[in-house]
Amino acid sequence: MALPVAFFALFFAYPVTAIVGRGLKADGVWQFGRIGEVLTRPDIRDVLWFTTWQALASTALTLLIALPGAYVFARFDFPGKQLLRAVVTVPFVLPTVVVGTAFLALVGRGGFMDELWGVRLDTTVWAILLAHVFFNYAVVVRTVGGLWSQLDPRQEEAARVLGAGRFAAWRRVTLPALAPAVAAAALMVFLFTFTSFGVVQILGGPGYATLEVEIYRQTAQLLALPTAAVLTLVQFAAVGAILAVHAWTVRRRETALKLVDPAQTARRPRGAAQWALLCGVLLSVLVLILLPLGVLVERSLATPGGHGLDYYRALGSVDAGGGTFLVAPLEAVWNSIQYALVATAIALVVGGLAAAALTRRTGRLVRGFDALLMLPLGVSAVTVGFGFLITLDKPPLDLRTSWILVPLAQALVGVPFVVRTMLPVLRAVDGRLREAAAVLGASPLRAWREVDLPLVRRALLVAAGFAFAVSLGEFGATVFIARPDRPTLPVAVARLLGRAGELNYGQAMALSTLLMVVCAVSLLLLERIRTDRSGEF
């Protein structure tokens, strides 16, 4: 427990406290009066109100669209299911700069909806809501669907044999079992949409700002640290509350459910109604997720002289006309993979130890630590980034110009995923097996290797894959610290998009497509080694 606590204290709590403190302290005296001042400002109240209601609406819409998807992925067997499940997770790890562009092709001018019905949603709140569905679809499918696929359908059948109607059986048997998972998924979606940044900036236009956007603006543009500090505290409080409820629902879920192998519960759809449901879900996935992703691919191939691989070829050379980069953009792929590997390693060590500690101990303090580990998911990158700058500035810890800061920042976001994936599996390892091995004369290391490793190996791989994919796509914190000679993929995409010219735009699309493919492949590999005890993501 000491290592994860130290890690979080040093690389999260300390920098964030320092930057908040800088804003709230004047001449060494805390100025808590500022909290009231800021919160009563009408523009800030507008921001708070918009942040809350758009998050509620996004969550409701996501559940509405994704719950049928969760059912279909859990209970039906159809060709290409694994691939599709990997693909729907891709948006979750794509950087928002890219997603915004892709999504405009769906709801913007000349987009899919415009061509079909003449409907344009860009710069409306609908674009934000739909993009949030796009982003978080996988959270619901994985959290709810994962559990749903392991619920024994015979329980529901038994209820029907005993005379309950189809709906009553579902409502009395399946729904109560699923409810905590639905609640957990809803809270995660709420957390992600409450702290939404890029989507709101790109799709909403200047009329809309979430708390996260406002924190960025106050910190990065205006250097109004007092206001930013107050807003950060508000976000902390909100995220803390969300996480507390989340932890409570998760604990409820971990009790007394008899689960079965998902392979036994999924079957081919039967009857017109089931086929219609399957087709409906596939259609919504096609329109909401595959289409925007497809547009990216199309644009990366659309060269002035017809479709071709020109932009991909251009990625391999240090640009002839003047350097956007000191190295060929393609090297960003390799840089990103290296950074992500280191970040994954850190996340696995820290997250693994934390999960082990959380399994071993119980009590209020430990539960509080559990929630604390999730906090980085809800704290803005600019707060962490600026915090790093003012705290890690003295030897031996002057890391401000070091490459290690990139994987450290990425690992902060990866750890929660590792913990959430490992926790249920670690809790399920039967200690008696290990005791038996010890009685038979095995050394602790041997017992670990023979007993624990085979049981947690798959969970470990899944956790690693998630941490890897999330690290690959991380942009917010990385942009502050990535060195020019080693840009990461999202940073390279952003730089290419920040410059006029066809070749730059084309290369940005091509790089985004590569990022998408790398994410999809790592997620597909996960699907193959997925544990039967699915984690919470």
Partner: protein, 370 residues
């Protein structure tokens, strides 16, 4: 899920797992450590660190030449856009990450000078720098490095097809012929957006600019958050805009955008697809300065000298798409052939900007965005 069991040795599991991945981390880091800062630190005095924003670029050759001339190797740190990079410097004042900061422009100059970020230094060759760019000539806390103009760009094809003359001035943009054609950036978050707003303040005065924006709004100006969206998604003249079926032929961008469109097209066209409305320009001047508390002050001074040398100044246009400030530095043919000459750009004094920016932006936002 089955019942939770407490086990004594789970920590061992995690530790062993950790050992496994630390080995992995080892391979990962050995690959990346060649660019790590540790070794460079120890040879400190031979490295000079330039902190800048994301748009900084210099060709490898020119940086190598600096090393040959002075013996110093330049290490570049980029962090976010211009505003973010400067604010980070202000936060770390006294314990800077580097020796020289490049990228304070005239809209942020007062904030930088007011916070005492820089040590005064009159760079060698400063007498060759255009005097109208030397906004801190009395103290030399900052050295001008380049200028750039924020101007409305137009889609040549659109105006040719419509047989309509493209607009030339701020006044033109409010005419009915150009209704619903212009897209600009949010002045609260984007520097071209702010520059365009300041251009209207300079032209119509602190009272008149609000009336101007009212007219512009009723003439259908569209505001998006950043340059990327405006240029790549909304502007019909850009490569991205064409793919996105964009429908706005006027965008707030830079006077150097047309040459960039030519440079990054394959095959290169004989004329730029876009043009510049030269009567709508706001001049940005970018400065560099020696950071107070710099570890390598001598190296920093040498770097500042180099930044205004002809060698660097002539390398700059094709890397950052800005204009040199040193007299006699030649512009590349790409600029003279495809770029626009802006004779009378608008400008506002840095003090005035710093005093009023928040208020101007606030009124602008309640007028145009809400």
């Amino acid at each position: 899920m089955s019942t939770t069991r407490r086990t004594k040795q789970l920590a061992a599991t995690a530790v062993a797992a950790a050992l496994g991945v630390t080995a992995l981390a080892g391979c990962g880091s050995s690959d990346t450590s060649d660019s790590g800062s540790g070794s460079e630190k120890s040879s400190g005095s031979k490295t000079v660190t330039l902190v800048s924003h994301d748009s900084f670029n210099a060709s490898k050759d020119v940086l190598k030449e600096f090393t040959e001339q002075t013996g110093y190797t330049v290490k570049v740190l980029k962090s976010g856009d211009a505003g973010v990079a400067l604010n980070q410097e202000i936060l770390t004042k006294g314990s800077p990450r580097g020796d020289v900061f490049f990228g304070v422009d005239n809209t942020l100059l007062s904030r930088a000078l007011g916070s005492g970020l820089f040590t005064p230094y009159a760079a060698k060759g400063i007498d060759q720098v255009a005097s109208d760019t030397q906004l801190d000539a009395a103290e030399h806390r900052v050295t001008p490095i380049d200028t750039g103009d924020i101007c409305v760009n137009y889609d040549k094809k659109y105006f040719a097809d419509k047989k309509l003359a493209p607009p030339q001035s701020f006044e033109d943009l409010t005419k009915p012929a150009y209704k619903n054609l212009l897209v600009t950036e949010n002045a609260q978050t984007s520097s071209p957006g702010l520059g365009f707003l300041l251009g209207t303040v300079a032209t119509y005065g602190e009272k008149g600019y609000q009336d101007y924006w009212k007219k512009l709004k009723s003439n259908g100006v569209k505001v998006v958050d950043g340059w990327e969206q405006a240029y790549n998604e909304e502007f019909s003249g850009s490569a991205g805009g064409k793919k996105a079926k964009a429908d706005r032929p006027l965008v707030v961008s830079y006077a150097s955008s047309p040459p960039v469109e030519v440079l990054y097209a394959k095959p290169q066209p004989t004329a730029a697809p876009t043009g510049v409305a030269t009567g709508t320009c706001f001049r940005q001047i970018e400065f560099a300065g020696l950071l107070s508390g710099a570890k390598n002050e001598a190296g920093g001074k040498a770097l500042l000298d180099f930044l205004i040398s002809k060698r660097f100044q002539e390398d700059m246009p094709l890397n950052m798409f800005v204009n040199p400030v040193t007299k006699g530095a030649k512009l590349p043919e790409l600029f003279t052939k495809f770029g626009a000459t802006v004779d009378r750009p608008t400008t506002v004094a840095p003090d005035k900007i710093s005093k009023n920016r928040e208020q101007w932006v606030q009124s602008w936002s309640s007028l145009v965005v809400k």
